[in-house]
């Protein structure tokens, strides 16, 4: 924005806000409102310039503008993305209101790319954009949840069902890694690795998918990049926006378990001396409740000629559907941009949040004595016991491992996490000469987390004998980022050239410490007085740092608005890379051809847009956490002569040649717009070869004597091939009624190309709960997709006598035991009879959204689903193993009088991986159904409002699936551990998914 007038500026800095007082000069002032001809709504951000001059402005949030002209013959040009430009001669009136016609063929939205922005029509890579309306279509705690089903090739998964505050995983174009995360890199307003802002603060989300788009992020680009842009202020009077919503939530599904008398019969068949307990308890009833979510967001935005501001505050509060689980968060965001003079622009972006999570334990990694999570315990626990025994103590299980009852665990165990996140990002942008700018950003973010846990002595098996256990863990993370880059733009004849060159430095430092104690005088102190515990636990602390320094550059050349060319490269040096491989180089190139701009198509009535794209490039996945290439000694607890002594053991061998993973990606795309883009179609096909995969080498024999023999090594290659289709249509578009449809569909094929050799499987660290003691659950095998379930093929119940052809039992089996396929025909089942019994990788996924608008009403119906993808249910395996309650399937168990069944006789059984617990995870889900109403403009004006909207929506109201567990979106061990990435399709103790009904109000004034 340029001003020819003299400006006098004063800058104040007050509580993070910048206020500008500006004094204007004279002349004739034209004001007016710009609206859309289609729906009559005001249009903010419309460019208004005086033709033939550089005098210009833009409309504010209310579509209002004000511009000074020197003569009545002046012509105002109104232009806006997606609308046809309009020229109006001023004449005598001081007010000029205009209506703009939608230009369906217009594509010139600006899309944010790494270190810059491009017109959408000039993009050569594969980029999906998600707009703010989609992000806020229904209330979510984390903006990432809102991405589910919105873009082809983008998979979104909760780490733990509907748990309040659970982390979300976003994966783009399949798993490109084994050991490392496949999570996409997140860049918020240029800050690499930032946390997401609140959904209401997001202007747009761009998903960079192919190498042409991501190579600018080099060693961190292989999993795709998600660029989040927050809202900025616009010139004009202050706009206040209030969004409030309230939701009621319930569990979407439960398991059918035995009641007390059925359970007693079942358990007596296992242990004849069992006597039925006194109660009949439905533990799921006791731990589940109705949840509530409240969310309020208030924002202020506006700007003067030189300063724009956007400030928002957000409050989110959720009481989960499991008793005593909840999440509360306050946050704020402020964006200030100041045009200091013709050449210099400064800006500040500030973000802060404080959250409190009340956790209940779910997805326990082990459920042995005194442990286990609330959910799986509720399934396992004897239904013939009550919450309290005759002496008023909490009951613990009468069968299997001693575990406290789920109600007691959920209501008495304390697990609170407090997290503060602050981020500040300053930038300055200076135009050195015409077309050449230098931008420097300096950002700093800090994350402080405290987690306090307390298990009171009233939980008898967990902490009764210790007299209560308390622990506190702290994490302090600081991240510092400096980005400095030049951008040069120049028109050369019919072509236009954009050059980018930059340097970046980032340093991340994490310090953790923890302490704990046992044996408390009273349970009342929780974890707040560790010193009152009689026995201190061993305190721990750890410091971890890494640095990345990088050079990057990009060339965009566009000839005659027909031919596009892009080259990108980045060189990364990182401290966490191993000694012999500190620097990595990542180039990419792409071509685009706007066929529809060629003469032979230019005036075609049907084809309004046709573009072909091709790209190839290399990106990386650093995948090495700090110090992971170094050999270690591990300090352990040891006692000699009753005294604790210093002791070390061999931790891990070194690997000085360890290097990042490299993905070589080819992408072909076509963008097609028909009938003035009433229908637009994008199709992308890609091929990604990922080499030098970093894997914990579990083929290192354990007899080598390292505490962790699975040192990281570059082993193998995997391939991902895929097809993505996005189709948007405006089926009906009349003045009163519109109907539009967005469909995205994607399919990814994942194959392990190379490991140790064709006949050597890589066994991944067991994904089974610890107390299952199953060392091997899933494998990598050449030619197969990642994370195949590996175990025995269940063939029904052994009826006694001769074994059916091709089957056998484990040694010592009797009639009623499990029958398995005898792979090696040895007549008895052992570990060599295992095979691949399931593939957790989904065949294809889709999102399907329909939006109907009738006058002031709108209706949105959003389906999302996945086809294929097996699930292994450790939950159902445990419930079939004796020593716990069982599902009602046990009523049909084998007995001498009920032999025609697939359910083995009641007995304590090893929880071996077998195909009996593999299920098809296909599902289709009505993710969101929303009915909205906007108050008519005449009413809102009377109320002094710009816009008032009410909506009622429902989330997850319908799910179609054959999966017999509670929910097909499972995620056991899908986060946290080193191999989380390949732990797909496992189900154990998931926090239940939730159904919610939400009422929302949006006010703008």
């Amino acid at each position: 924005m340029k001003k020819t007038k003299q400006l006098k500026q004063t800058l104040f800095l007050l509580l993070g806000f910048c206020f500008v007082l500006s004094i204007h000069a004279q002349e004739k002032t034209i004001t007016g409102t710009v609206t859309s001809k289609t729906d009559g709504l005001t249009l903010p951000g419309v460019n208004v310039i005086v033709k033939g001059t550089s005098n210009g402005t833009s409309t504010d949030f209310d579509g209002k503008y004000s511009i000074n002209v020197t003569e009545e013959s002046a012509v105002l040009v109104f232009s806006y993305v997606g609308f046809k430009s309009l020229e109006i001669t001023v004449g005598s009136p001081n007010q000029v209101n205009v209506q703009l016609d939608e230009d369906l063929a217009a594509l010139d939205e600006v899309v944010v790319v790494g270190y810059g922005a491009r017109k959408k029509s000039d993009i050569t890579g594969s980029v999906s954009s998600i707009k703010s309306e989609e992000v806020t279509a229904f209330p979510v705690l984390d903006a990432q949840q809102a991405l589910q089903g919105r873009a082809a090739g983008v998979a979104v998964q909760s780490n733990n069902g509907g748990e309040p505050g659970t982390p979300i995983n976003v994966t783009i174009r399949g798993n490109t890694s084994i050991n490392a995360s496949s999570a996409a890199l997140v860049v918020v307003d240029g800050f690499v690795g930032a946390t997401y802002p609140q959904p209401g603060d997001i202007e747009s989300v761009e998903v960079l998918k192919d190498a042409s788009a991501t190579a600018i992020y080099g060693s961190r680009g292989a999993n795709g990049v998600i660029l989040v842009t927050t809202k900025k202020g616009r010139k004009g009077k202050m706009t206040v926006e209030l969004n409030s919503n309230y939701a009621i939530q319930t569990t979407s599904n439960r398991l059918d378990l035995l009641d007390a008398s059925q359970f007693a019969d079942y358990t007596s068949a296992i242990n004849s001396s069992y006597t039925q307990g006194p109660a009949n308890t439905d533990w799921q009833d006791l731990i589940y409740t109705t949840g509530h979510t409240t969310n309020h967001q208030l924002s202020f935005s506006g700007g003067s000629d030189n300063i724009n501001y956007y400030v928002s505050g957000n409050y989110f509060d959720q009481d989960g559907v499991v008793i005593n689980s909840g999440f509360e968060r306050f946050s704020f965001l402020s964006n200030i941009d100041a045009q200091i003079n013709d050449k210099l622009k400064l800006g500040f972006n500030g973000f802060g949040s404080r959250s409190t999570k009340n956790g209940v334990s779910t997805q326990a990694v082990s459920g042995g004595r005194g442990s286990g999570d609330v959910i799986s315990i509720a399934y396992r626990f004897a239904p013939d016991l009550g919450v309290l025994d005759d002496n008023g103590n909490n009951t613990f299980n009468s069968v299997g491992d001693d575990i406290d009852n789920p109600f007691a665990v959920a209501s008495e165990r304390v697990d609170e996490t407090f997290e503060d996140i602050y981020r500040a990002n300053f930038y300055g942008e200076y135009e050195i000469i015409e077309g050449l700018t230098f931008k420097s950003t300096f950002g700093f973010s800090s994350r402080n987390q405290t987690r306090g846990q307390f298990t009171p002595s009233t939980l008898i098996t967990s902490a009764g004998d210790q007299g209560g256990i308390a622990g506190i863990a702290n994490l302090k993370n600081t991240n510092l980022l400096s980005e400095n880059y030049f951008t040069y733009t120049r028109e050369i004849g019919n072509g236009s050239l954009t050059l980018l060159a930059g340097y970046s430095y980032q340093k991340d430092k994490t310090f953790t410490n923890s302490a704990g104690a046992e044996g408390f005088v009273t349970n009342g102190v929780s974890y707040n007085a560790l010193d009152t515990g009689s026995t201190p636990l061993i305190p721990e602390s750890f410091l971890s740092e890494f640095e990345i320094q990088s050079q990057y550059g990009r060339i965009n050349y566009d000839y005659d608005d027909k031919y596009l060319i892009t080259f990108t490269a980045r060189r990364d040096g990182a401290s966490n890379f191993a000694k012999n491989n500190k620097y990595a180089f990542f180039p990419s190139g792409a071509l685009g051809w706007k066929v529809s701009n060629e003469n032979f198509l230019k005036d075609n009535e049907t084809i309004s847009n046709l573009k072909l794209r091709a790209s190839y490039g290399v990106t990386g996945n650093p995948s090495i956490t700090p110090y992971n290439s170094l050999a270690t000694l591990q300090s352990i607890y040891a006692v000699t002569g009753d005294q604790t002594v210093n002791a070390v053991v061999s931790g891990r061998p070194a690997n000085p040649n360890l290097k990042w993973e490299s993905s070589y990606q080819t992408n072909f795309g076509i963008d097609l717009g028909l009938w003035q883009n009433r229908a637009s179609l994008s199709v992308d096909i890609y091929n990604i070869d990922t080499k030098d995969l970093i894997v914990g080498n579990s083929n290192t024999p354990e007899y080598t004597g390292f505490l962790n023999p699975n040192f990281l090594d570059n082993i193998g290659e995997i391939n991902n091939k895929g097809l993505e289709i996005t189709l948007s249509t405006r089926n009906i578009s009349t003045e009163d009624f519109t109907w539009s449809t967005d469909l995205n569909w994607s399919r990814n094929r994942n194959t392990v190309e190379k490991l140790f050799g064709s006949d050597v499987d890589l066994f991944l660290p067991s994904a089974a709960p610890g107390h299952f003691l199953q060392d091997e659950t899933h494998i990598l095998r050449e030619g197969e997709a990642l994370g195949q379930f590996f175990g025995w093929e269940y063939r029904g119940v052994y009826q006694g006598g001769t074994l059916p052809q091709g089957t056998a039992t484990f040694s010592g089996a009797v009639a009623g035991d499990e029958l398995f396929t005898d792979v090696d025909n040895s007549g008895e089942i052992n570990s060599s009879d295992r095979k691949i019994i399931g593939d957790p990788n989904q065949d294809w996924t889709f999102g399907f959204n329909n939006t109907f608008k009738y006058k002031n009403f709108d209706l949105g119906i959003f389906f999302q689903g996945a086809v294929g993808g097996d699930i292994y249910s450790f939950t159902l395996s445990e419930l079939a193993s004796g020593g716990s309650n069982a599902t009602t399937e046990a009523l049909n168990a084998w007995s001498p009088s009920n032999t025609d069944t697939n359910v083995p006789s009641p007995a304590t059984r090893e929880k071996r991986m077998n195909s009996r617990f593999v299920f098809d995870g296909t599902y289709v889900r009505l993710k969101n159904l929303v009915l909205g109403y906007n108050l008519p403009q005449n009413i809102t004006e009377k109320l002094g409002m710009d816009n008032v909207r009410f909506s009622l929506s429902g989330q997850n109201l319908l799910t179609f699936t054959d999966y017999p567990g509670t929910d097909p979106e499972v995620s056991y061990r899908a986060s946290g551990s080193q191999n989380a990435n390949v732990n797909q399709g496992f189900d154990y103790g998931n926090y239940p998914n939730i159904e919610s009904v939400t009422f929302s109000v949006n006010l703008k004034f």
């Binding site: 009468s398 004998d465 401290s575 270690t632 006692v639 002791a647 004597g705 570990s831």
Partner: protein, 503 residues
């Protein structure tokens, strides 16, 4: 304008400084340059001691199968994990969760010893200064391989830290005979260099090395050497500070163990633990469910002697009263074992092992899991019995051999003033041999020795057959004297084939 440019430079320049990208892991211990003094060698050896006192080794994964495979202990709670029951029933498969859990831990104990030996060599100190400490590592290595070779036969063997992972991943098994030879040479080095006494029985002394040499030779049926090594210890008992504890009960009272002079080597616990380190599950596994005695929250009724142990053990033997719990305290009142199941259906009608659950000392964890027990790996009483057994094979009918047994019996009588067990004399060679084995059964009951005796003397068909303490029809001599190698290790290194017979 100019000022702003300078401001810019100021903002940017300090950040651009180049980093060498070297990692400085202040929180990670590095093996490079770790060994600076003899104290560091001790710290590495302590790592092996710490690894012995983990859940995956002596805590339960290694020790429990030894109990269950004997003819003295079976499964109480039938609902307990199949991987445990399979050892009791001789139905172990090659993925048995007990074996796959202790296998890596056992080799970590060995790796610690190898690191210590290599680290000491790098110090360049004179051997007079180094060897008395390094000899502990030789002992640890021998102790651990001695367990392994008895359980697995031929096995992967290392006597130095693994440097080349690739090469180490392709080795073949070392024959058992060669492993035994290495064990003996390690123990001889240890015997040469270890001091006569140590501040604690958790550290091996010269007597420990000699005592283990006696046991190794006995296991190899090399009776002359077994005898001479045992006799070396016995003849020097004063010099080594060894004596039989006066009261047999004190040996299993965690509060009294450290004051006794009977143990030649112990795995120590001090009532604290960190994760799985320092965890002692034996009181829990052997204890009676719901038993309020000792106030540890009762046990889990997993490893329980068959009723035959109670029935056949002479009631006059003080060691029976020390070794077995025939009563428990329930709801504040003492009750007999025939009524144990009425307090918890997972209890059985049998006398329970008392050696671990009765006196755990101060325990920081439920069911005695954080006990103060120091587990004697070799007691002086056993050295006397080795001497007697070996001497009987070399020269039958000596009063010297009688005398060793009678010392053990006299101590047993000392507990209750009974006349039982009476002194032995005048037995022929076969009767004496049987008598010593029976004496070991009672004296060392539930001390993880019986299975090795059954294997050493190939008694399986007899003791698990009809009329034995435990009838185990599934016992197969051609298979069950050895464990299977963990199947996942065979997958990682097929050169470890063949698997042991029958698996």
């Amino acid at each position: 304008m100019k000022n702003i440019k300078y401001l810019f430079l100021l903002l940017v320049l300090p950040i651009i400084g180049c980093s060498d990208l070297e990692e400085e892991p202040v929180s990670v211990l590095s093996p490079d340059g770790f060994f600076q003094s003899i104290q560091d060698v001790q710290t590495a050896i302590n790592g092996s001691y710490g690894n012995m006192a983990t859940e995956a080794f002596w805590g339960r994964k290694f020790s429990l199968p030894l109990l269950l495979r004997s003819d003295m202990v079976g499964i109480g709670d039938q609902g307990t994990a199949g991987r445990r029951k399979d050892h009791d029933n001789f139905a172990v498969s090659d993925d048995n969760g007990m074996i796959t859990a202790f296998w890596p831990r056992t080799y970590q104990i060995i790796a610690g010893a190898n690191e210590a030996i290599a680290g000491a060599a790098s110090l360049g100190d004179p051997e007079e200064r180094l060897n008395p400490v390094v000899a502990q590592a030789y002992f640890v290595r021998a102790y651990t391989y001695f367990h392994l070779v008895r359980l697995f036969g031929d096995l992967p063997y290392f006597d130095s830290p693994v440097q080349d992972i690739t090469a180490a991943s392709q080795i073949s098994k070392t024959p058992a005979a060669e492993v035994y030879a290495n064990i003996i040479s390690d123990l001889e080095f240890a015997k040469q260099w270890l001091p006569d006494t140590q501040p604690s029985s958790a550290l091996p002394s010269k007597a420990t090395a000699a005592g283990y040499l006696a046991l190794v030779h006995l296991t190899m049926n090399n009776f002359p050497d077994a005898y001479s090594e045992a006799k070396f210890v016995i003849d020097n008992e004063g010099r080594f500070g060894l004596e039989l504890a006066a009261d047999f009960q004190d040996l299993f009272d965690a509060t009294k163990q450290s004051g006794l002079n009977e143990a030649l080597f112990t795995i120590d616990h001090n009532g604290f633990r960190s994760g799985n380190y320092g965890q002692d599950y034996m009181p829990a596994l052997t204890g009676i469910r719901g038993n309020q005695f000792g106030d540890i929250g009762g046990g889990w009724s997993v490893a329980v002697p068959s009723i035959e142990v109670y029935n056949r053990w002479d009631g006059r033997d003080y060691r029976k009263a020390v070794s077995l719990d025939t009563t428990g305290v329930f709801n504040g009142a003492v009750d007999e074992f025939m009524n144990f199941p009425t307090y918890d259906a997972r209890n059985i009608q049998s006398a329970y092992i008392a050696k671990y659950a009765r006196f755990t000392g101060q325990t920081s964890n439920g069911n005695g899991r954080g006990s103060e027990h120091n587990y004697a790996q070799l007691r002086y009483a056993e050295v006397l019995l080795i001497a007697a057994e070996a001497l009987n094979e070399v020269t039958p009918g000596t009063t010297e051999a009688d005398g060793y047994v009678n010392r053990v019996r006299a101590r047993a009588r000392n507990g209750n003033g009974s006349s039982f067990p009476a002194d032995v004399s005048g037995l022929n060679q076969d009767d004496f041999r049987d008598m010593v084995l029976e004496e070991r059964r009672w004296e060392l009951a539930f001390e993880f020795k019986r299975w090795y005796d059954i294997k050493r003397r190939q008694l399986g068909d007899q003791v698990f057959g009809v009329g034995g303490f435990e009838e185990r029809p599934n016992f197969t001599a051609s298979r069950d004297y050895l464990y299977p190698l963990p199947n996942d290790e065979l997958q990682r290194n097929p050169n470890l084939e063949p698997q042991n017979t029958g698996y």
